[in-house]
């Protein structure tokens, strides 16, 4: 009874014309922000926040949240079409999404991304509604040792990302770890590996780095191919606009698994959303019967991360709304928006302001439907982008990358970084070094280091802290098993070889 009453209250709030309008503006801006590379939800919300000072609190929250989850819909668009990650959470989508587009399957890729986002988004709201308060407490039990165990597992999963050579993938991971070390040391607050460059004090920014490694290097290698007189013209015939039944049967499991992974990791503070896209991709590749299809246009490789990032965005609301803990920068902005209106986020929020909580939940249902309606017709338009001749498209891509990279921090240095990584990325392609392990290691590295050092501080240097604490012990055990599973095929092969030699 109480529950239906609450949901009814929520829809009453959101169906108020003003709130409806705010919800629509939110998801529309979110989609745009997602499509535009560089500018992310943080920038957009920061820009719009002052405009909401005078608006009612429920409307404000509905709109700002709309921007946040709307971004996850749009983020995949440029990843798929032109190999530029629109957001950090869509980096991994480049791998298979762009390959699908090159095979003339941009339509199904965009379609499955939109549907996956919708399904994951809706499921995560259900999760937010029913199990939020149960899970929120669990998120708090993740202290530094638990993070360390989780991130270590992430590093092991990294090996699944390798497409060509596992050795080269590991080399790239080391480069990623080294790059992740740049910036202020967590213990002393003193700069490390910045070489006196003040712009590196906060480390290397992931957005210009990913844009360079994927987008710019793609343009460069295409020019390279154009210079080659024997090049084969890649005919992008657009086969069909919608995912076929076969696509659906391949992707449905990936969507559901992506949702679960995204939801669980999305609740954790830090880079939960980004990490969940990588992990869901790696999981799909691991359990697939044809892992060799990944990186060559497997639809699961788009469906899983795109579902994961949407589920993560819903899950990130859990700690904010039930505990008053913002787990990422966007949540911190929503937190600030609440405070501006004199509302204290925290366990008392649901009780004291049921209209805001349930209004937000109802608006997220509605927003996801709006996003689907908004995004599906857009696919037809996006696909036409691919028909733009390359001598026009490539300069445009470069321009968008430049604007995007600059807009993240208003920093000219980021442009230099992007160009540099573009050149490096081009060379990496030539010699078949992959960018995905580098970026995953870059994301994990600094967090792993922080968790390790914090844990050892707490335990006063004793490594037993990782085993004696139940969650971290279990996770580390799983990581160890994963490692063994990885080694097993090699050992078997070796044995077989030895046997062959003996015989």
């Amino acid at each position: 009874m109480g529950f239906f009453h609450n949901i009814l209250l929520g829809f009453q709030v959101v169906l108020d014309p003003t709130n409806l309008l705010f919800c629509f503006i939110g998801v529309l801006v979110g989609t745009l922000v997602g499509v535009l590379p560089g500018i992310g939800p943080v920038g957009a919300i920061a820009l719009l926040l002052p405009a909401t000072f005078k608006a009612p609190p429920a409307s404000t929250l509905i709109m700002l949240a709309g921007i946040y989850y709307g971004t996850q819909y749009g983020g995949s668009t440029t990843s798929i079409l032109v190999n530029i990650p629109g957001e950090a959470t869509s980096i991994i989508t480049c791998l298979d999404g762009y390959q699908m587009a090159r095979q003339g399957r941009a339509g199904p890729a965009l379609g499955i991304a939109a549907w996956g986002s919708f399904i994951a988004g809706t499921l995560s709201i259900v999760g937010l509604m029913f199990i939020a308060h149960l899970l929120a407490g669990a998120a708090l039990r993740f202290g530094p040792p638990e993070y360390f165990a989780l991130l270590l597992t992430g590093l092991i999963i990294l090996t699944y990302l390798a497409q060509y050579s596992i050795l080269k993938a590991l080399m790239m991971a080391v480069v990623g770890l080294l790059l992740g070390n740049v910036g202020l040391d967590m213990m002393t607050s003193l700069p490390r590996f910045t070489f006196g460059i003040d712009d590196l004090t906060d480390g290397v920014n992931i957005i210009p780095m990913a844009m360079g490694l994927f987008g710019i290097s793609e343009v460069l290698s295409n020019i390279d191919r154009d210079l080659d007189p024997h090049r084969k013209i890649l005919e992008t015939r657009i086969s069909n606009l919608w995912p076929s039944l076969k696509d659906w049967s391949e992707a449905k499991g990936a969507i559901l698994r992506g949702t679960v992974i995204g939801f669980c990791l999305g609740m954790l503070p830090g880079a939960g959303a980004v990490l969940s896209t990588f992990i869901s991709y790696a999981v799909e590749k691991r359990i697939s019967k044809h892992p060799e299809r990944f990186g060559k246009g497997a639809i699961e490789g788009v469906a899983a991360p795109e579902s994961a990032n949407n589920a993560a965005s819903g899950a990130a609301m859990v700690p904010l709304l039930s505990l008053g803990i913002p787990t990422n920068m966007t949540m911190a902005l929503l937190f600030a928006a609440l405070i501006i209106h004199g509302i204290q986020p925290g366990p008392l929020l649901i009780k004291n302001h049921p209209d805001i909580f349930w209004g937000l939940i109802a608006s997220m249902y509605l927003g996801n439907v709006l996003l689907l309606i908004l995004n599906l017709p857009l696919i037809g338009i996006w696909v036409k982008v691919l028909k733009v001749p390359s001598q026009i498209l490539f300069p445009l891509i470069l321009l968008f990358c430049l604007i995007g990279a600059y807009s993240v921090n208003n920093s000219g240095f980021d442009l230099i970084l992007m160009t540099l990584f573009g050149a490096v990325g081009y060379l990496m392609r030539r010699f078949r070094y992959e960018a995905a392990p580098l970026i995953l290691a870059f994301v994990i590295g600094p967090r792993l280091e922080k968790a390790l050092r914090q844990s050892l501080l707490i335990s006063q240097g004793s490594f037993t802290i990782f085993i004696t604490r139940p969650i971290s012990g279990i996770v580390l055990g799983c990581a160890f098993l994963l490692l063994l599973l990885n080694l097993f095929p090699y050992v078997k092969k070796r044995r077989q070889k030895l046997k062959d030699v003996e015989e």
Binding site: D198, P269, A332, A336, I340, Q344, G346, N410, K450, Q460
Partner: protein
Amino acid sequence: MGKIISLWGLLLVSIATSSFAQEYPTKPINLLIANTPAGSVNVSLRMLASHVEKRLGQPLIISNNNAGGGSGAFAIVAKQRPDGYNLVAGASTPLVRIPQLRPVPYKFEDFVPILHYGTMESGLFVRADAPWKTLREFVEYAKKNPGKVTYGVSGTGTPQHLAMEFISMQEGGIQWILVPMPGEDNSIPLLGGHITAASIGSVYTHHVTAGSLRLLATHGERRLKAFPEVPTFRECGYDFINETVMVVAAPKGTPLPVIQKLDDAFHKAMDDPEFVKYMGTAGNLVAYRNHEETKKYLEDAYVRLGKMIKDLKISMEPAKK
């Protein structure tokens, strides 16, 4: 002859500057905020900005840059033209503290303060189910159980870190363990029970209201409005004050009339009831000092902090040769 020319010159310059101040501003003013978009300095400044714009008749073009804990923004503005169209705002940290901890490409003297409009409050938190009701009890426990107490701070060398080191020094050395938690929500490890205490910003006081944390003492000059029963460090016998203020500044050489005009515009904007309400909910205090007082205040704070960093032996990078 030469004397006459220089007199004429002086006259011309004085006319030029006075008419300049009357006209100022004739174009939009750039304001770089050394704070994240979600930070309370950013939000409060954007609230003030709309009123300042109305008063000055020119828009403020606001951007954020939080690189290096705020030092990035100050480094940029230090090199900009001192014509009143380039301003920087943020916590006073990058002005008075960071240059004493690590090398930065600017000096405290490169800036002229315009005003400070608020103080950043902080305090010592423990979990609500912890046995210690007062700071005294907590310190006694820590003294009797060396190596058992872990405390989190947002970073090494922050006032919250110095506060703990200060207690330790005054008590003749307490063995408690510092756990820096940069770049994350500082309340999580304490809420989850992974550390014993946290010396963090008063933005986390909503966990006290919600009943999950307890505030033992605050670092400010005055008690927090929302928690009048919680004593300050000074009242507990530790002569430590977190002197971080929210400051607006311009590059050195910005004409005084311009500074005065900006000071006045921002000061009047502080009457906005929504701004006052926000500052309270965000756990900060509204506090004004004009450009002259702020300069003096920051200069004193610079000296005091430098002495404290030296006395407490906070790690510092070896000076460049």
